[in-house]
Amino acid sequence: MCDSCGCSQPDNSVTIRRAGQNVSGSANHHHAPHHHHDRPVQGRIVEVREAVLGKNDALAAHNREFFKNRRVVALNLVSSPGSGKTTILERTIRALLGEIPMAVIEGDQQTMLDAERIEATGAPVVQVNTGAGCHLDADMVHQALHQMEPAENSLLFIENVGNLVCPAMFDLGEAAKVVIISVTEGEDKPLKYPAMFDAASLCLINKIDLLPHVDFEVARCREYALRVNRRLEFFELSARTGEGMPGWLDWLRSRL
């Protein structure tokens, strides 16, 4: 079965493809054959003591090892839908193109729209469509890496499905989670969705060009986020106007 949310779905509902590809590859989940034995029954307790996410964590460790060997810095971008993740990526790639090799894995339930936007910037991109799934998992990233091998000493941006809940639980093998909040959302998001802010290393506060028009207090948002995660770093920026981008770009340079 596919790793999915909301309903059961057939294996081929997760598709992973390069921008421009119209033939979808299925997620290739393997099913071991089931053996059925029709013999007398007797209850027996089998000790297991294994983490439910153990398989995902093992695949994430495998991805992490791959990144380490190639000196690829992988960043998992997480946020609510509409916070501006893709716009931040477009602006970031255009600013660093020619300076740092970059690649993108785009996660959405449906469509190639984000992959097409990223492809237009000149960076290699693979789109993962999760179907009904509400998050990327380590296996999807692993399969995406088979479609597009990132260059050595490069940045890999993994844009997760827009969702502030589920992606917090699934390690993809990334070096860091970057959580994005836009000023059109409530400044209390860190209090409402603490797991994601707890799991992130960096917080980007986006759309600051709209601050004069909304009741969003940046200082309060920071304070709330720091209550959840005292190690969190911040950049305030506008991916639309470019204001505040240099700090984020320098942070990216410093990771390599």
């Binding site: 079965m1 596919c2 790793d3 999915s4 949310c5 909301g6 309903c7 059961s8 071991a32 089931h34 053996h35 059925h36 034995h37 029709d38 013999r39 007398p40 029954v41 007797q42 209850g43 027996r44 307790i45 089998v46 000790e47 297991v48 003591r49 294994e50 983490a51 439910v52 996410l53 153990g54 398989k55 995902n56 799934g133 509400c134 998050h135 998992d137 809940v165 589920c166 917090a168 639980m169 699934f170 209090l191 603490p194 797991a195 707890d198 720091l226 209550r227 959840v228 005292r230």
Partner: protein, 115 residues
Amino acid sequence: MHEMSLAVSIVELVSGKARAAGATKVTAIELEVGKLSGLMPEALAFCFEAAARDTLAQGARLEIREVEGGGRCLACGHAFVLDSLLAQCPQCGGYAVETVQGRELQVVSLTIDEE
């Protein structure tokens, strides 16, 4: 709704272990779920039923053992029960609290019918 994903992971893990043990059926699954794991036991139980369909775990009883959250204040060292990731030390009022318990999410044991 990551509970469905986790239910599927549980069924995969359990089916593998059950097959290896020569089970013909899994009748019960003992789970340890930390109160800070971000998982709703009711939602998990609901999803599990669907995820287990046509597997060795179909119809298995899910025994969920909840694990209390535990925190330790990094400022004053006070240890206390933690009911959210957003905790304030009841002794000194600080927010620098380390989570020491409550994120568990593991399959503890299975009860199987065997050949």
